[in-house]
């Protein structure tokens, strides 16, 4: 039977790769490979997954040096000469084995004011938002993020500056800046400005290159830069 040679990171920040042999199957995903190891070879292997169908954003790992969602990544596409190297996501602390600590990643969504700030109460009329308006189109183009952390792991600026909010948090902020129901756009623009914010982006576009949902955080970050420039020219005027 054809087998796959798999190097898997074991341990925390300090650790080493361990070699496993896994039977090769048709239409096998990288997550299938990890699950096989955990079920049939070494039950102490730690990894994270939930939905297995590309919705939840739990199973991202570094596969042959590249961040990927493993449940939708076929071994056929990524194996190099019948071998795979698996590690936890980069730019995040390692909990154990293939599990990265995503707390900092999600805390930054909060710091980028990724929370919706309502302007109406439940006693008022529903807001009617026309999907054809330019604002709603901008928001819709960026809204499908599943929070997998692939963009964050791929980002050079995060590597250089641990405070940098990162592509996913800034992308989230951009969707809210384009939400006509939101009431905290000035505050959010302040939150995403500065050394840790959108102005530090170098437009390397690694986030856009690797986003499994084919979103473009680079575009969202450029939008935030543009909007902040307008706010400077209009002295707190917000959108022109």
């Amino acid at each position: 039977m054809e087998t796959l040679k798999v190097e898997v990171w074991r341990g925390g920040a300090e650790g080493a790769y361990q070699r496993f042999e896994v039977p090769r199957r048709e239409s096998q995903t990288v997550l299938d490979v990890v699950t096989y190891i955990q079920r049939f070879v070494d039950s102490t292997l730690a990894y994270r997954f939930a939905c297995r169908v590309g919705m939840c954003g739990s199973c991202a790992m570094t596969v042959n040096g590249v961040p990927r969602w493993t449940c939708r990544t076929h071994v056929d596409k990524v194996a190099r000469e019948g071998s795979l190297t698996l590690a936890p996501l980069a730019n995040m602390p390692v909990v154990r084995d293939l599990v990265a600590d995503m707390r900092e990643f999600f805390d930054k969504w909060g710091r980028a004011r990724g929370q919706f700030s309502p302007t109406r109460t439940r006693h008022q009329e529903f807001a009617k938002v026309d999907p054809r308006t330019p604002e709603r189109r901008e928001a819709d183009a960026a809204i499908e993020c599943i929070g997998c952390g692939v963009c964050y792991a791929a980002c050079d600026v995060v590597k250089w500056n641990r405070e940098y909010l990162g592509p996913a948090a800034l992308n989230r902020a951009w969707t809210l800046q384009n939400d006509v129901r939101d009431g905290a756009r000035h505050e959010r623009l302040d939150a995403v400005s500065g050394d840790a914010g959108c102005h530090s982006c170098h437009t390397h576009m690694s986030c856009t290159e690797f986003c499994p949902k084919h979103l473009s955080p680079t575009r969202s970050i450029a939008g935030l830069k543009r909007e902040s420039l307008w706010s400077l020219l209009h002295a707190r005027g917000g959108k022109p």
Binding site: W160, N161, S193, G194, H199, K225, L229, L232
Partner: protein, 113 residues
């Protein structure tokens, strides 16, 4: 929040000076190409720079834009490549910017009438 506004201002200043520099460099290069066609002498250059006030003003603004742009760029490099941030980094790059400005303006003054 004040910090965020200050950072935003520096970011915008670097973009605006970059836009100026793009034009200045093109005008500067075009002038050089035009000026050296008949050979190059110090007397000829000085005759041209003395001929009008527009030339020293052009180069004074050029120098100002370059020193602002360069100082902010150095600040970013210090922060990202050396992890050097804060008051000491700001002081160092301000000094570098002022030095560039002084050197440049000295050269502009030297060729002005």
């Amino acid at each position: 929040m004040r910090d965020a506004r200050a950072e935003l201002f520096l970011w915008a200043a670097q973009r605006v000076t970059a836009a100026f520099l793009a034009v200045f460099v093109l005008v500067h290069l075009a002038t050089i190409v035009y000026a050296v066609r008949g050979g190059l002498t110090a007397a000829e250059i000085l005759a041209r720079t003395h001929s009008s006030l527009a030339i020293p003003i052009f180069y004074a603004v050029f120098v100002l834009a370059a020193s602002i742009h360069g100082a902010i760029g150095l600040r970013n490099i210090a922060a990202e490549w050396l992890g050097w941030r804060g008051a000491s980094a700001n002081a160092a790059v301000s000094l570098a910017g002022l030095a560039l400005l002084a050197l440049g303006l000295r050269a502009v003054l030297a060729v002005s009438a």
